[in-house]
């Protein structure tokens, strides 16, 4: 018995694709519903956060109107109340930028060190140690910053203002230092360093090894390879990582609340005591605030939530795009 099967003769229609009907059992359907429900609870929580903050903040926001975003003072219990987040928002941004300016080069450098320079036995413990920085509670960073770092930075601050005081950010009017946005920035830098380092490390690790070795084989130095191959390849990933760090820095609460003495002035002088931070202000004021004050604080929280969520989402889009453009969709 020998059956030779040939392809269909001309005139016979091409095979018709069947719809695969896989009717799942009831248990399968129930399980899938459970799992999907859990997953979408995340979206539900994000929606509820916005909804409830908005509902609670609405009376305060309605009363204050757009002045909420441009006013400096915070007297929600006066009649009529006078309050706004302008100084706080600017201060939040200044602290975050100081933190980013310090953390980004250090994080990129340590990511490069771990990936390209460190001996094999050192790389893994190093990654663990950097991740450990993220595990230390914000509270402890704050205490360390307030009691240990702040006094020790006085000398540095004085030197900066003496020699570089012509640059506005280093100018001080009273030569009093400490509890400043500068100290906050350094502490927050330590806290956002791990996330920037881990995302950039991951992006750098995706550079094809052959490309790197190709650069070295052409007689390039290691720095040449880093500069011509790895950094250009990882650029959008670094941008995304920096934005993730920025998002974290904007929301940093307790450490800043402990260190900073908030004074409701918009000031570019980061070495002086004072400045502002939305999150820290909420934490500071909440325990003592009256009913109207708490509503105003929720309004500030709403602004913070919207800003950080937007920054985070844009950052994720940038990071994901830098991943998928390499054909590596997670």
């Amino acid at each position: 018995m020998l059956v030779a099967v040939t392809t269909l003769p001309d005139g016979v229609a091409a095979p018709v694709r069947r719809r695969i009907v896989a009717s799942p059992t009831r248990a399968d359907r129930a399980f899938q519903a459970l799992v999907i429900g859990a997953a979408w609870s995340v979206l539900a929580i994000l929606g509820l956060i916005f909804l409830f903050l908005f509902m609670e903040a609405w009376p305060a926001l309605h009363q204050a109107g757009w002045s909420f975003l441009v006013r400096f003072q915070w007297f929600p219990d006066l009649t009529p109340p006078v309050f706004g987040v302008a100084a706080l928002l600017v201060g939040t941004l200044v602290i975050a930028l100081v933190a980013l300016a310090i953390a980004l080069p250090v994080a990129v450098g340590s990511a490069l060190y771990v990936n390209e320079y460190a001996p094999r036995w050192l790389a893994r413990p190093l990654v663990t140690m950097i991740d450990l920085l993220a595990a230390i509670p914000s509270l402890i960073y704050g205490m360390w910053g307030l009691y240990w770092l702040s006094p020790r930075l006085n000398g540095t601050s004085r030197w900066l203002t003496d020699h570089l005081g012509f640059i506005p950010i280093f100018h001080t009017s009273r030569r009093v230092f400490g509890s400043s946005m500068f100290v906050c920035g350094i502490v927050v830098a330590l806290m956002i360093l791990p996330i920037i380092a881990s995302v950039t490390r991951e992006v750098f690790a995706q550079v094809p090894r052959t490309t790197c070795e190709g650069a070295l084989a052409l007689g390039g130095t290691r720095w040449g390879m880093v500069r011509r191959v790895i950094l250009p390849f990882g650029r959008s990933g670094m941008v995304g990582a920096a934005m993730l760090g920025l998002g974290r820095a904007l929301g940093e609460t307790i450490a800043v609340a402990l260190i900073l003495s908030i004074n409701f002035q918009i000031t570019p002088h980061i070495l002086e005591p004072g400045g502002g931070s939305v999150a820290a202000h909420i934490a500071n004021q909440f325990p003592e605030a009256g009913l109207a004050g708490r509503k105003a604080l929720v309004a500030a929280g709403l602004v913070l939530f919207v800003v950080t969520l937007i920054v985070n989402m844009v950052a994720r889009v940038v990071v994901n795009r830098s991943r998928s453009s390499r054909g590596l969709v997670d």
């Binding site: 018995m1 020998l2 030779a4 099967v5 392809t7 695969i20 896989a22």
Partner: protein
């Protein structure tokens, strides 16, 4: 070392007569085609794989052998965006028919994979019984007897009977693969699909698996995909030669009794392939 042993006489207490013989079913593919997204892998495959026989599927890499196997027990549809045409009949009933559950089909048409993969969290005994638990089947008789029977059929009983409680992952590669065969047999499938079951194994283990295949074919229909033509010649009753070149979907070039296909192929391409001129 003498490796051409005759099958070891059964040492088990079970009377071989109790083994369900003739449990195998006829499996028939009718004008089967398969796609991944818009990429067609198989075209117009019609094969009848007779009950209680071994059918080998040979052919060069990328001709769709494995995909065909996965179409047979509805594993193909697990790949996102996959689709197919044609029918697969298990004793005359279309496994893709409306109302047929894939899980049910897969229980009747078992599968052994290229890489042995016993469940790492389970003991040897639990691995054998895992199918019952996973498919939600009640075992009529005693579990001990079932474990012994399946391990014995897979030729593993003598080696592991004293350590049924140890982890399946602790076995050698060949033993793991035989454990996977025992695991697949425990749910009494009517067809067993084997996707290059020996390609990750050493020659000695390969021969043991081949012995096992000959031992169990009395109770189950076997379809085996293999790269190794000697293996196809050794174990199979029928052989199908698949070919799909230059991006064209795979088709059956020739199908027939193994002895005829290897000694007197009809198609020159079959002859070229079995004589090692390509592939």
């Amino acid at each position: 070392m003498n490796m051409t042993t005759t099958p070891a006489p059964p040492v088990s207490m079970i009377d071989p007569a109790v083994l369900p013989t003739g449990n195998g079913a006829t499996l028939e593919a009718r004008t089967v085609a398969a796609w991944f997204a818009e990429h067609q892998i198989l075209d117009d495959i019609s094969l009848a794989m007779p009950a209680n026989s071994v059918t080998a599927i040979i052919g060069p890499s990328g001709c769709g052998k494995s995909t065909f196997l996965r179409v047979l027990n509805r594993m193909h549809e697990l790949v996102p965006k996959s689709s197919l045409a044609g029918e697969v009949l298990l004793d005359g009933a279309d496994v893709y028919g409306i109302g047929v559950r894939p899980a049910e089909t897969r229980r009747h048409i078992g599968m052994v994979f290229q890489k042995p993969n016993p469940f790492p969290t389970m003991t040897i005994r639990e691995n054998v019984l895992s199918g019952l638990k996973l498919a939600g089947i009640k075992n009529e008789g005693s579990n001990d007897d079932l474990v012994e029977r399946c391990l014995d059929q897979a030729g593993l009983w003598r080696e592991v009977k004293d350590r049924l409680g140890s982890a399946g992952g602790a076995l050698s590669g060949g033993q793991q693969q035989r454990l996977c065969i025992a695991r697949a047999l425990a749910v009494s499938p009517r067809v067993l699909l084997m996707d290059e079951p020996c390609s990750a194994l050493d020659p000695t283990s390969t021969l043991r698996i081949e012995e096992t295949i000959r031992d169990i074919v009395g109770s189950v229909t076997i379809v085996i995909v293999t790269h190794n033509m000697q293996q196809a010649a050794r174990v199979s009753d029928y052989t199908a030669f698949f070919l799909g070149d230059e991006g064209r979907p795979g088709t059956v070039v020739e199908f027939g009794p193994t002895s005829e296909l290897f000694t007197a192929p009809n198609d020159p391409r079959t002859e070229d392939y079995i004589n090692g001129r390509f592939g």
